[in-house]
């Protein structure tokens, strides 16, 4: 036996393994590749502008922090600014949402600001939501978008993006996931959304986990001062159809959420109109704390919590 014999045996083995995959085919169509390339090119161009943008964002942040005392956003000519986020609409129709590190987002303000810029979204403190799929037993599942599993953007900031589909759905949802990723460009703590790339019949669910995690964390975890924004792509429901909301299941901090079922509760309702605004600002109530929401249960009525009830 010589080295060539050894190599050819290895090569035969690998070739046979590859041959066993003869029925495996790439499902991604050419136009999806081209769209992905274009999106990456746009990101690259934006990165080139980051230096200039950072200065502008710094000025905006300084003005925002000195001028705002937790009040509503200033919103004119396609721009909104609060102490927790800024929202800027560009000439090409895209909208850039920039989160300020470690400042809690007021869900009501963010939802109204997004609605003004034509981005249908539901914003909730501490949980992500999905429309109800049948019964409570059909738990929603969260499929992460590429790049998997979570695009960590910068230290201290963590953005998760999910597509929420019925339990049991398979990777046939890949096209939907891809469409979702096309609607977003993430640079640092800024999320650029292209409303025209949003899949039809879908809206966004924003959740802010930072506060809840820090409160519940064991001492070592307190060092992890993340701003953790979770974005899910969900179906726009029929009027008054309930949402199911919950913390992400099985997190180190939420092995046993207060309501017992990490997947689906509490429920919430809102009208189908994307421009709906919250009836009560969740941040105006103490219900962002899990311990302050004792009435939540999988069977809770849709209006069991003011913070989870959104009306037009």
């Amino acid at each position: 036996m010589n080295d060539n014999d050894g190599l050819s045996a290895v090569q035969d083995c690998l070739t046979a393994a590859k041959g066993a995959l003869a029925e495996t085919h790439m499902q991604t169509p050419l136009d999806a590749i081209v769209r992905r390339g274009r999106a990456a090119r746009r990101r690259r161009r934006l990165m080139g502008l980051t230096g200039t943008g950072a200065v502008a964002a710094g000025v905006a942040l300084a003005v925002g922090l000195t001028g705002a005392t937790g009040s509503g956003p200033t919103h004119s000519a396609g721009a909104a600014r609060t102490d927790a986020f800024t929202l800027v609409r560009h000439a090409n129709g895209t909208v850039t949402l920039t989160f300020i590190y470690r400042v809690r987002v007021d869900p009501g303000l963010l939802q109204r600001a997004l609605a003004r810029d034509g981005i249908p979204a539901m914003v909730t403190p501490g949980w992500v939501c999905g429309t109800a799929y049948g019964t409570e037993s059909q738990l929603i599942q969260l499929i992460p978008t590429f790049p998997r599993p979570h695009p960590v953007t910068e230290p201290g900031f963590w953005l998760d993006m999910w597509v929420v589909v019925p339990r049991g759905a398979n990777r046939g949802q890949a096209q939907e996931i891809h469409s979702f990723s096309l609607a977003f460009t993430v640079i640092g703590n800024a999320l650029t959304i292209d409303p025209s790339a949003m899949p039809p019949g879908k809206e966004l669910s924003f959740g802010d986990f930072a506060d809840a995690r820090l409160r519940q964390a064991a001492p070592p975890y307190r060092l992890l001062r993340w701003t953790n924004i979770t974005v899910g792509l969900i179906d726009v429901p029929a009027v008054s159809r309930p949402y199911h909301c919950g913390f992400l299941p099985n997190t180190p901090w939420y092995k046993t959420p207060p309501w017992g079922n990490p997947g689906t509760s509490p429920s919430a309702t809102r009208a189908a109109s994307p421009s709906a605004t919250p009836a009560a600002s969740p941040s105006a109530t103490p219900t962002s704390s899990p311990s302050a929401t004792p009435t939540f249960s999988p069977s809770a009525t849709p209006t069991s919590s003011p913070s989870a009830t959104v009306s037009p």
Binding site: D5, A9, Q11, L21
Partner: protein, 160 residues
């Protein structure tokens, strides 16, 4: 060659090779799509390469490494982000996958390019930016590691 023609003629091959390396059907598809998107972005340059297919495979494998590096900095959220089992994963030999994935990245790249894409030593060396002699040493170390991890390979050799 136009990009569309290149994509249609090579995408399945690239997917299978990357799948052999990563062992997860969905991840492999994502990685190959990302690599082809990068090839599209730089097509004027990539089309002039001696082996554009090998370039795509290498970009996909490196993107996988980047994903893992990124993941190391993250906090685990439990099992909800575990990839769903795919049918294609079942046809892959667990031993072979484990052995391949146990190789250092450079050795895996050399094995992939030389044995799966059938590039010659010089072309492999050019693509990886290393000396032809280094390609040879990586290849033989990788082959030795695979033989020791897969006893049936050694049996085949002794029987020939």
């Amino acid at each position: 060659m136009e990009f569309a023609e290149f994509y249609e003629s090579t995408r399945d091959d690239c997917l299978r090779i990357v799948l052999l390396n990563v062992g997860d059907r969905q991840l492999a598809e994502d990685l190959v799509a990302e690599a082809f998107a990068r090839a599209w972005m730089s097509w004027r340059k990539v089309r002039t390469y001696q082996a554009p297919t090998a370039w795509v495979v290498r970009v996909a494998l490196n993107a996988n490494v980047s994903t893992w590096r990124r993941r190391r900095r993250e906090v685990t959220l439990g099992g909800h982000d575990v990839a769903l089992p795919a049918e294609d994963n079942a046809v892959l030999s667990g031993d072979l996958l484990t052995a391949l994935r146990g190789l250092p990245l450079r050795q895996r790249e050399v094995v992939t390019l030389r044995l799966l894409l059938d590039l010659d030593t010089q072309a492999t060396a050019n693509l990886l930016g290393i000396a032809p002699g280094t390609v040879g040493s990586h290849l033989h170390r990788a082959a030795a590691a695979l033989r020791s991890a897969l006893p049936h390979l050694a049996d085949q050799e002794t029987s020939t």
